[in-house]
Subunit: 457 residues, 2 copies
């Protein structure tokens, strides 16, 4: 970079800033964010999912039309460079990780062995109006498998969610719905094309109550007879087995309409199989059927997932589902996939709110060698090197000078040990170490590296 900018502007120079909706992450926040990423990554790996990366920029032809009209407006478009600068943009920043994944699978289909299990942890960009908790650049952690219709995949995603939040120490509720069940409900009440209206109404049950939901359905054009069919679903309760039995009866001609829904039955079978697997395997966090999950109704075709933190008020912290035709739009039909996305920012807020981050993430440095003069400096440099090669994070204060300043530096960086060595230590070949938390101080022979490492633990 050129530091002597001829176009130096005074006012700009005074207030450097970043675009609204974007963030800098300092070292503490990074350590905390990496803790989340490392945890999900380690769990993804134990399930055999492998990482891919796709470019930040995709061709606009890849992105447009995939997120609805509103989504198209929220794409960040990149001006063409060179002679084409005046022409309409050809590239945009990725908006999610699902479309790039679908594009990747089609483009690399001959190199991939299916079922293909991948995870991807990368930022996405959306030109949303920035507001509290909503950013224009944020990370997604997506885990998907494509090329298998087995409910074992759904099970694995439930297990992954269960394991991640157990490791993070967060109590969650894993909610599962099935798009085929929703289709079935619309079919047996005689309004097969009204799936979205019906689900959105069910979704409000908790907030506005049964009567208001039924009023809203009437308003939307459903008949009282249709609503009578749906009422047992709105009142659905009991164990998972009981819920499944009720739904099976309704779809099998047992509702007030007497209509049968094959699709609904299929959805119930999927739920039954999935919950059977969950029962066999065992999970630590509660999992329940929730027919009001209304996420992704335009694209999910089977399971729908949502995860809520139980002890912290925030929206869903994970979500996903199954797509039966994930790659069709890029010319590869009949590829069923299922995946889930971890919302890093919300998980961060939950861990922060519940004070669940490990306490020692902040500082990576274990010991600071204070330096009072060039003789002492030369004495500690090889010691620092040996400790580093043993994996200990060590700093040598670079400027010989006042100890006060060096202690302040250690305090601000939360460095737990300080080592101060003067001419007498040099003569004796010893190393002084002080634990700044306990105040304990000890001298070691510089050659007793094992004992030094033990003390620094």
């Amino acid at each position: 970079m050129y530091l002597c900018n001829p176009n130096f502007e005074d006012d700009m120079a005074q207030k450097p800033s970043i675009p609204k909706g974007t963030r800098d992450f300092g070292q503490c926040e990074m350590a905390e964010r990496n803790y989340i990423f490392d945890t999900v990554r380690s769990v993804f790996r134990t399930y055999g999912y492998q990482q891919i990366d796709t470019p930040a920029m995709e061709n606009l032809s890849t992105l447009l039309g995939k997120y609805g009209e509103e989504g198209d407006k929220l794409l960040f478009r990149i001006q063409n460079s060179g002679e084409k600068a005046e022409l309409p943009p050809e590239k945009g920043l990725r908006y999610d990780l699902t479309v790039p994944f679908a594009r990747y699978v089609v483009q690399h289909q001959n190199e991939i062995s299916f079922p293909f299990k991948r995870y991807q942890i990368q930022p996405v960009w959306r030109a949303d109006r920035p507001q509290k908790g909503r950013y224009r650049e944020f990370y997604q952690c997506d885990v998907d498998v494509i090329g298998s219709k087995s409910q074992v995949n759904e099970l694995e995603l439930v297990q992954i969610v269960d394991r991640v939040f157990s490791l993070l120490g967060v109590n969650v509720l894993i909610k599962i719905n099935n798009r085929k069940v929703l289709t079935g409900l619309a079919e047996i009440c005689g309004f097969p094309e009204r799936v979205v209206d019906i689900t959105v109404a069910i979704d409000k049950l908790d907030k506005i109550g049964l009567e208001s939901v039924e009023a809203e359905m009437l308003e939307k054009g459903l008949t009282p007879e249709a609503i009578a069919v749906l009422r047992p679903v709105l009142l659905l309760s009991g164990t998972t087995e009981e819920k499944i039995a009720t739904m099976r009866r309704l779809f099998n001609g047992g509702s007030a309409s007497g209509l049968v829904s094959e699709t609904g039955m299929k959805g119930v079978d999927e739920l039954k199989e999935l919950f059977g697997f969950i029962g066999t395997t065992g999970v630590s966090q509660p999992v329940e059927i929730d027919l009001s999950l209304a996420r992704g109704l335009n694209y999910y075709t089977g399971a729908i997932f949502e995860v809520k933190a139980l002890d912290w008020p925030i929206g869903s912290i994970c979500g996903g589902g199954r797509y039966d035709n994930l790659t069709g739009i890029f010319g590869l039909p009949d590829m069923s996939g299922v995946g889930i996305s971890f919302g890093a920012d919300r998980i961060y807020d939950v861990l922060k709110g519940l004070d669940k981050f490990p306490k020692d993430l902040g500082s990576s440095t274990r010991v600071l060698f204070a330096v009072m003069g060039s003789e002492e400096l030369r004495y500690v440099l090889p010691l620092a090197k040996t400790l580093r090669e043993a994996g200990v994070s060590v700093e040598v204060y670079p400027e010989a000078g006042k100890l006060k300043k060096q202690f302040d530096y250690a305090a601000k960086k939360a460095i737990p040990f300080i080592s101060i060595n003067g001419s007498s230590e040099i003569e004796a070949g010893t190393v002084n170490l002080k634990n700044l938390e306990t105040g304990e101080q000890k001298a070691f022979q510089a050659s007793e590296m094992d004992k030094i490492l033990e003390f620094l633990k």
Copy 2:
């Protein structure tokens, strides 16, 4: 995403692609790239450097004018969204990690404790003409310290380079120059304003020889007397101590011009101090003074670094130096910093070329449970869970079916162990494990988890 795109275009659907100059990274490449990133990160950490992240988008006012006229042209500009779409862009993608770092330091100066040691591993974007080995999106790994003028910082960077390439198993040559020495040379030959011309000419010595270099200097307007002053430098050889002694003599009035250069002396002192520290600490890889290093002449003010792989023909794989006024352009004067940048793509090429990547990076999965039916599936799911909780990466083949297909899957993913269990194993409560490399096969009681873990090691 919406999978039923009304604007579905057939030709687009057939050939999904990514913008030129960008890349997808598949799971093997990602594992290899992560190996490089993890290695540099682990070394950065043992020196007390801590990670920060800055947004992909910066205000154009932050970026413009920092990379010269040519650099301004290579910035990717982002179209404004909403009503401002027609106005000139206000944001651009980051071009390097140095300008965002300087902006970060100024913006967050009150939160930072100096000396501030940070590293940053993120992609940057340049609208360069794509060509072999040159990409429009690539990762930089930068490590910098700001707020200290001590040569201990330069030493640490040399140690970090030394350690990283020792861990990666690559022999390198670390070359060091000093901008003040170059200024001194220009001063004692009577052309103080011609530093760049002189350095660029020296840089060609290896390629075109002494006579041609001197001819080029004459052509550029230097006098024969000036060239006579420079000749001892062009012929500079011997040990580092000898080189330093020769330079000191020249700057101290001992050259043919008899001119003295205070700046040159200062540069020699810095080199002497740095090499003294290097000698005290000890490094594994060779380090040498190279006065022809011509990188960053417009902004470096002290040390200049460059690292070359010794056994693989490629340009420099690391570079950096000291800036005395890193943040002045953003309104914070007198902040000296020194840093180095690891070129991930070139390091990747070197490791690939020298076949230095560890062999077991490709597959993360350790064992595949083959599945022949739903009974067997239910039997292995809890086993898989227990192994995963012990940290083993396990896959359960999700579709019951032909063993051939499942063996093929294990082979393609280089999974070293397969476990096939049928009704007799279920009855006996045993687990069959086969090492696909050695052919060794063993049966264990499902409860003997220790023995199973031992076998899978």
